[in-house]
C-alpha cells in the first residue's frame, strides 16, 4: 500500500517538475523580455530592470534561476498580469473555481444520465431500445461541442428566450466572490434573495452544462454498455442465475460492481475531455472561467498570464487523473499484478 502511494507521489512530483520546467522555459521562448514574461512587470528604467534581474536571479545560471523560480512558485508569488497588473494567483483563483464548478455539474449529468442509460442499453443488448439509445449516443458523440453550444444559444436563448446565454448569474445579484464557487458564495452572501439567486444561477448553468455533458454522456453510455455486456457473458453470471437469484439481485450484486470497475479509468480520461470542452464552451457563454481567461490572455499577448494559466490548468488535470487512477488502483484488486505505475 505504502509502495503504491509513494510511487504515485513520485510520479506526481516528477510530472509537476517537468511542467514547471516547461513553463520556465517559456520565459525564454516567448518573444518578449524574460524579466517581463516572468514577473509581468515591464521595467520602466534600467534601475528597475536591474533590481528585477537581481530579485529573480536572472543573471545567474539557468539551474539557479530554475530553483529560484520553483521557490517563488511554491511561495505563491506567481507574478502579475502584464495587462491588468493584478497578481496572477488572485486572478487564477477566481477563474479556476468557475471552470471546476461547470465541469463538476457536467460530470454529475454524465454520471446520472450516462451510467443508467448505458446499463439499460447493455441489459437490453441488441434490442430495438438498445439500438435506439446507441444510435442517439453515436450521433451525440459526433457533434462538435462549439457547434452544439451555438445551436443551443440560437434555439433556447434567442429563439424562445427561455434561458440566458452569458455569465454565471444575472449581474443584478450582488454576490461577493469569496470562494469563487458561486453556489457556496450565494450561501455566504448577505442581503440577497438566496432562492432567487440559486434558481438564476441554475438557469445560467443549464445550457453550458448540457453542451459539455452531451459528448461525455454519449461516450459514457457506450463505455457502460460495453462493460455490462462483457460482464453478462461471464460464467459467474450464469452461476448466479443457476443459484436462483432474481435478476435484480444479479444486477446489483454481480453485474454493476464488476462492470463499473473498468469504467473508472476511462472516466478519468473523460474528465480531461470534459475540462477541455468546458474551456471551449466558456468563451461561447462568456463564462468567467479559466478557459475564457486564457483566451483573453492570448488575445492580449499577456505572456505572464499564459505561462501561469497553462501551469495551473495542467496541474489540475494531472492531479485529477492521478487521483482517479490511484483510487482505482486501491479499490481494484485485479490491478495489483501490474507493477508499473501508469497514467
Amino acid at each position: 500500500m505504502i509502495r503504491i502511494l509513494s510511487r504515485y507521489a513520485i510520479l506526481f512530483s516528477l510530472t509537476l517538475l517537468s511542467l514547471c520546467a516547461l513553463s520556465f522555459s517559456l520565459i525564454y521562448l516567448f518573444p518578449a523580455e524574460p524579466v517581463t514574461t516572468l514577473t509581468g512587470i515591464t521595467p520602466q528604467n534600467l534601475m528597475q530592470h536591474e533590481a528585477l534581474m537581481n530579485q529573480y536571479h536572472l543573471n545567474n545560471s539557468i539551474i539557479v534561476q530554475f530553483a529560484d523560480y520553483l521557490s517563488e512558485l511554491f511561495a505563491g508569488n506567481w507574478g502579475v498580469s502584464l495587462i491588468s497588473g493584478q497578481p496572477l494567483s488572485e486572478e487564477i483563483m477566481l477563474a479556476l473555481p468557475a471552470t471546476i464548478e461547470l465541469s463538476a455539474c457536467a460530470m454529475f449529468i454524465v454520471i446520472v444520465v450516462g451510467i443508467p442509460l448505458g446499463c439499460y442499453s447493455g441489459l437490453r443488448a441488441y434490442s430495438t431500445t438498445d439500438f435506439t439509445i446507441n444510435s442517439i449516443s453515436v450521433t451525440a458523440y459526433s457533434v462538435p461541442v462549439f457547434w452544439l453550444a451555438v445551436l443551443f444559444i440560437l434555439t433556447f436563448s434567442l429563439q424562445f428566450g427561455w434561458l440566458p446565454l452569458s455569465g454565471r448569474i444575472n449581474l443584478l445579484f450582488d454576490i461577493p466572490p469569496k470562494t469563487g464557487f458561486l453556489m457556496i458564495d450565494i450561501l455566504l452572501a448577505d442581503n440577497v434573495d438566496r432562492a432567487a439567486a440559486f434558481s438564476d444561477a441554475l438557469l445560467h448553468l443549464i445550457l453550458p452544462v448540457l453542451s459539455i455533458a452531451c459528448i461525455s454522456t454519449a461516450s459514457m453510455i457506450r463505455i457502460t454498455r460495453r462493460s455490462i455486456i462483457d460482464v453478462l457473458n461471464k460464467p459467474f453470471i450464469i452461476a448466479a442465475r443457476s443459484k436462483g437469484l432474481s435478476s435484480k439481485q444479479i444486477f446489483f450484486r454481480h453485474v454493476l460492481r464488476n462492470a463499473l470497475l473498468p469504467i473508472l479509468p476511462l472516466m478519468a480520461m473523460q474528465i480531461t475531455t470534459l475540462i477541455t470542452n468546458a474551456m471551449i464552451v466558456e468563451t461561447l457563454f462568456s463564462w468567467p472561467g479559466i478557459g475564457n481567461w486564457l483566451i483573453q490572455a492570448i488575445y492580449q499577448r499577456d505572456y505572464s498570464a499564459l505561462r501561469m494559466g497553462m501551469l495551473a490548468v495542467s496541474t489540475l488535470v494531472v492531479m485529477i487523473t492521478i487521483a482517479i487512477d490511484l483510487f482505482n488502483r486501491l479499490i481494484d484488486p485485479s490491478r495489483e499484478k501490474y507493477e508499473s505505475v501508469t497514467i
Binding site: I83, V112, L165, G167, N170, L172, S199, F251
Partner: protein, 540 residues
C-alpha cells in the same frame, strides 16, 4: 426482465429535459436595476485622466456632475452644480454661484462630513491646472483633455469668493470656455475625500475608488467583467428609480445584441451597423438615432518619413475612394466628410475642398516624391466599434486593396484597445484609422484637440502634426464671440488643412443607441458620454 430499471431512467431523462425547458422569466429582481452592456474596460474611474468614450460612458454622468451641463436636445448650456453664472464684458472673468446642499457619495470607503462647496471646485480644477498641486502627479499627472485644449495655460486664477461662489479669470478671451466646463471631463471631485486619502498616504485611490455627486456611486469593478454601481440615495436631482446600475463589459457586438434580445442587457453600447435591421424588426427593442458630432478619419504620422511630405499624404488620399469606403463600412448611416466639422455644427463649410478618387494622379505624386513602387506602410485599425468608425478592420482591408493599385503595400495592425492606444500615443504607427467624438458643440473642440501642436503630447493629435500658422488661426478664432468672424477663420483653417492634409477626413456618422422598450428616459447625448441617471425600467 429489467422493468425496475425503466422508471428511474425515464424520470431522470425527463427531469433533465424539464429543467431545460421551463419558460420562466429568469431574473427575479429584474426591475430593480439597470444593466448596460458596454464595449470595453474604462482606463480610470476619473474622466479627467482619459479622453476615451469608454471611460466617459462609465464615469462622467454616472458618478460625477459638472458645474454646467449640455442640454441633450438644444445643445445649450444649462446649470448643474453651478446654479447661475455671469461673464464680465471683456470676457475674462467668469463668476459661478454654486448649488447648496449637494451631498457627496456615502460609501464603504468614505463618509462625507460636509456638502459640496467652492473648495471642491478649486480642488477639481487645480488638480489638472497646477503642476505643483499635491494631487497633480497622482495617477500619472496626465490630463489629456485639458492639455490638448491648453486650458490650464489660459486660466489665470481660480478663487472662492465665498463658500458658494467661485471666480475664474482667464488670460485670454475664450469663447469655448463654458463649453469646456460643461464637457464630460470637467467633473467635480471631493476635496474632503482627497484630504482624507492624502493623510492616509494613499492618494492614488481617488481615481480607483471614486467619490462624486452623481446619480450612482461606485460599488465594485472586475476587469473584463463588470462595473457595479449603487444608487445615490441623496442625489440632488432626485434619487434614480433603479437601485443598481451594472456595466456588463461585453467586447463583442454580436454578443451584446444577443444579450439585449434575451433581456440580459437593458441597453447596449455601439450596436453594429449590420445589426440595425434586426433591432428595428423586433418589437421589444428600440433603435434611437441622432446625427452625431463626430468624425472618422485616416491620420498619417507626420513625424515619420515619407509621411512628413504633404504630397505623399495627398497621393495616398487620392488613392482611396471615400464613397466606397463609406458604403461598405457605414452602410447608409454616415455622410461623407470634407473637413473636420459635421454639418450639424454652425461652422460647417458646405463648399470645402475635398480629395477625389484618382489613382493615376496618386502614383504620379508618389513618383515625384521619390516613393518607389513596393513601398510598405502600416495602417492601424482601431480594434473596437465606434460610431465614427464601426468597422476599422474592414476599412483597412479596403484601403489595403486601393493602395495595392498604386503599388503601396499595407500591413494592417491591431492590438487590444488599451495596448493600441498606448502604442499610438508613443507614435509607433505610420497611419491610423480612428476618429473623434466631440465633447461639446464648439468647433474648437474638433480643430484644437485633433491637430494643434499642444495635442501631440496629450495624445489626441494622431497625425502628430504641428503647424504654427494653424494654431494661430485657432487662437484667433476663440478670442472673439462674433460668429461670422469665427466662421471665416475656421474656413481658413479648412483651406490650410486641405493643402497640408495631415489626415484624410472620411465620414461623419449618426449615433445610435439600442435598448429594450421597457426603458424610458433613454436619450442620446450628442455631447459626450451616456447618461443613465434619468432612465427607468417599467414592470411589464
Amino acid at each position: 426482465m429489467h422493468k425496475w430499471l425503466v422508471w428511474p431512467v425515464i424520470s431522470t431523462a425527463l427531469l433533465t429535459l424539464l429543467g431545460g425547458c421551463s419558460p420562466q422569466k429568469y431574473s427575479a429582481n429584474y426591475t430593480n436595476g439597470l444593466v448596460y452592456c458596454s464595449e470595453s474596460d474604462p482606463i480610470s474611474m476619473n474622466p479627467q485622466l482619459d479622453t476615451s468614450t469608454t471611460t466617459a460612458d462609465a464615469t462622467a454622468h454616472q458618478i460625477y456632475d459638472r458645474l454646467l451641463e449640455f442640454d441633450t436636445e438644444s445643445g445649450r448650456i444649462r446649470p448643474s452644480l453651478a446654479t447661475s453664472w455671469s461673464v464680465s464684458d471683456d470676457g475674462l472673468l467668469y463668476r459661478f454661484s454654486l448649488r447648496r446642499d449637494v451631498k457627496f457619495h456615502t460609501t464603504d470607503y468614505f463618509t462625507p462630513g460636509r456638502p459640496f462647496n467652492a473648495s471642491d471646485v478649486l480642488f477639481s480644477f487645480n488638480r489638472w491646472r497646477l503642476p505643483q498641486h499635491s494631487f497633480h502627479n497622482v495617477s500619472g499627472g496626465y490630463y489629456p483633455y485639458f492639455e490638448s485644449l491648453g486650458l490650464a495655460d489660459n486660466i489665470a486664477d481660480i478663487k472662492a469668493v465665498s463658500p458658494y461662489e467661485v471666480e475664474i479669470s482667464l488670460k485670454q478671451r475664450d469663447s469655448s470656455f463654458l463649453a469646456n466646463i460643461a464637457s464630460d471631463f470637467s467633473v467635480i471631485l471631493s476635496a474632503e475625500y482627497a484630504d482624507v486619502l492624502m493623510s492616509q498616504g494613499i492618494p492614488e485611490r481617488i481615481d480607483r475608488l471614486p467619490i462624486g455627486t452623481g446619480p450612482y456611486q461606485y460599488a465594485d469593478y472586475q476587469k473584463n467583467h463588470y462595473i457595479r454601481y449603487d444608487v445615490n440615495n441623496d442625489y440632488w436631482q432626485g434619487t434614480p428609480a433603479s437601485k443598481a446600475l451594472i456595466f456588463d463589459i461585453t467586447p463583442k457586438s454580436s454578443l451584446r445584441l444577443a444579450k439585449l434580445m434575451t433581456g440580459e442587457c437593458d441597453a447596449v453600447a455601439f450596436p453594429a451597423r449590420v445589426d440595425h435591421q434586426i433591432i428595428r424588426e423586433r418589437e421589444d427593442l428600440v433603435l434611437a438615432e441622432k446625427p452625431g458630432l463626430n468624425i472618422g478619419f485616416w491620420a498619417f504620422n507626420t513625424e515619420r518619413p515619407p509621411f512628413d511630405n504633404p504630397s505623399v499624404r495627398k497621393a495616398l488620399a487620392y488613392a482611396i475612394d471615400k464613397n466606397t469606403l463609406i458604403e461598405a463600412v457605414y452602410f447608409d448611416s454616415a455622410t461623407r466628410a470634407k473637413s473636420l466639422l459635421p454639418a450639424a455644427s454652425w461652422a460647417y463649410q458646405a463648399d470645402a475642398q475635398d480629395t477625389g478618387y484618382n489613382p493615376v494622379l496618386a502614383r504620379q505624386l508618389l513618383d515625384e516624391a521619390g516613393v518607389a513602387p513596393g513601398f510598405t506602410m502600416s495602417v492601424w485599425a482601431i480594434p473596437v466599434e465606434r460610431a465614427y468608425n464601426p468597422n476599422a478592420q474592414k476599412m483597412a482591408e479596403l484601403i489595403q486593396r486601393y493602395l495595392a493599385d498604386i503599388e503601396v503595400e499595407v500591413n494592417i495592425v491591431s492590438y487590444d484597445w488599451s495596448t493600441f492606444r498606448r502604442q499610438l500615443r508613443q507614435g509607433n504607427h505610420d497611419s491610423v484609422l480612428i476618429g473623434w467624438s466631440a465633447d461639446n458643440g464648439d468647433p474648437d473642440n474638433f480643430y484644437r484637440p485633433l491637430l494643434s501642436c499642444d495635442a501631440i503630447p496629450s495624445g489626441t493629435n494622431r497625425a502628430r502634426w504641428c503647424n504654427p500658422a494653424y494654431d494661430e488661426i485657432l487662437d484667433r478664432a476663440i478670442q472673439t464671440e462674433d460668429v461670422d468672424i469665427r466662421k471665416a477663420l475656421y474656413f481658413q483653417a479648412n483651406e490650410l488643412l486641405f493643402d497640408k492634409l495631415p489626415m484624410v477626413p472620411i465620414a461623419h456618422a449618426y449615433r445610435y443607441q439600442a435598448y429594450r422598450e421597457e426603458l424610458s428616459g433613454m436619450v442620446i447625448n450628442p455631447y459626450g458620454g451616456i447618461r443613465l441617471g434619468g432612465v427607468t425600467k417599467q414592470r411589464d
